[in-house]
């Protein structure tokens, strides 16, 4: 059988972030709450 000399494309055709990143963002969003006190913003992260 003939050899295939072509290489697989290095650049992926679908440009998407890692699933872990999206999952982290969704969890972060659930955990974080912002409180504004006198022009200052405080970030509270629930464990």
């Amino acid at each position: 059988m003939a050899k295939i000399y072509s290489r697989k494309s290095v650049v992926a055709t679908t440009m998407k972030p890692k699933k872990e990143i999206v999952s982290f963002l969704l969890s972060y969003s659930k955990a974080v709450s912002m409180i504004n006190i006198k022009n200052q913003s405080f970030e509270i992260i629930a464990n």
Partner: protein
């Protein structure tokens, strides 16, 4: 899911009111465009993921602290955040965008050396040698005119004076010399290109 049909502005509003699914829909809807945009500037998957994450952390914080004003559209706003983070990234690293050699992109397509390569020098030398051999095969009168014109850079007037023939005869000999060379090159299928 009904969320998929809702416009961005409404999803943002729902998210601010506490609907966490709205964020998932917004990310899913725009992840590929935003990530593609970042990747086009960074050309590194891991760094692009980091910047994508930082972009949405900023988005989440801004939306949760109610400081987002719906002046523009959601996507251009996120893109602007991503763009600023990309600039920060390059500033922090104090370097220009990194280019990585891929199948589609070769660094040598933007970097070039004016000097002919060793390979092309060798090919040129070989072509010249082949051509000289072919010229040697020409009839003497044609060879004489061709050498004087091409290698000694003489005018046809000078050639005619030296060879003792008319300018027209010199021109004719030159023409036949070239025709004969072409014929030999075609016949033997010699490649004389660099």
């Amino acid at each position: 899911m009904a969320n998929l049909e809702l416009p961005d502005a409404l999803l943002v509003q729902n998210y601010v009111s506490g609907d966490e699914n709205a964020l998932a829909t917004l990310i899913k809807r725009h992840e590929s465009r935003i990530f593609g945009f970042i990747y086009s500037k960074i050309a590194d998957r891991d760094t692009s993921n980091d910047i994508f994450q930082d972009t949405f952390i900023k988005v989440i914080k801004t939306l949760k602290s109610n400081s987002y004003n719906e002046e523009g559209k959601f996507l251009p706003w996120v893109m602007r955040i991503a763009h600023n983070l990309i600039i920060d990234h390059f500033r922090k690293n104090k370097k220009m965008p990194m280019f990585r050699e891929t199948e589609e992109f070769s660094i040598f397509s933007v970097m070039s050396d004016d000097e002919p390569s060793i390979e092309s020098q060798l090919i040129s030398a070989q072509v010249e040698l082949d051509l000289k051999k072919l010229i040697e095969e020409l009839p003497l009168d044609q060879k004489e005119v061709l050498v004087m014109r091409m290698y000694q850079d003489m005018s046809f007037k000078e050639i005619s004076e030296i060879t003792g023939v008319s300018i027209n005869t010199s021109l004719g000999r030159m023409r036949y010399a070239l025709l004969n060379l072409r014929k030999v090159i075609d016949k033997h299928q010699i490649v004389l290109t660099n």
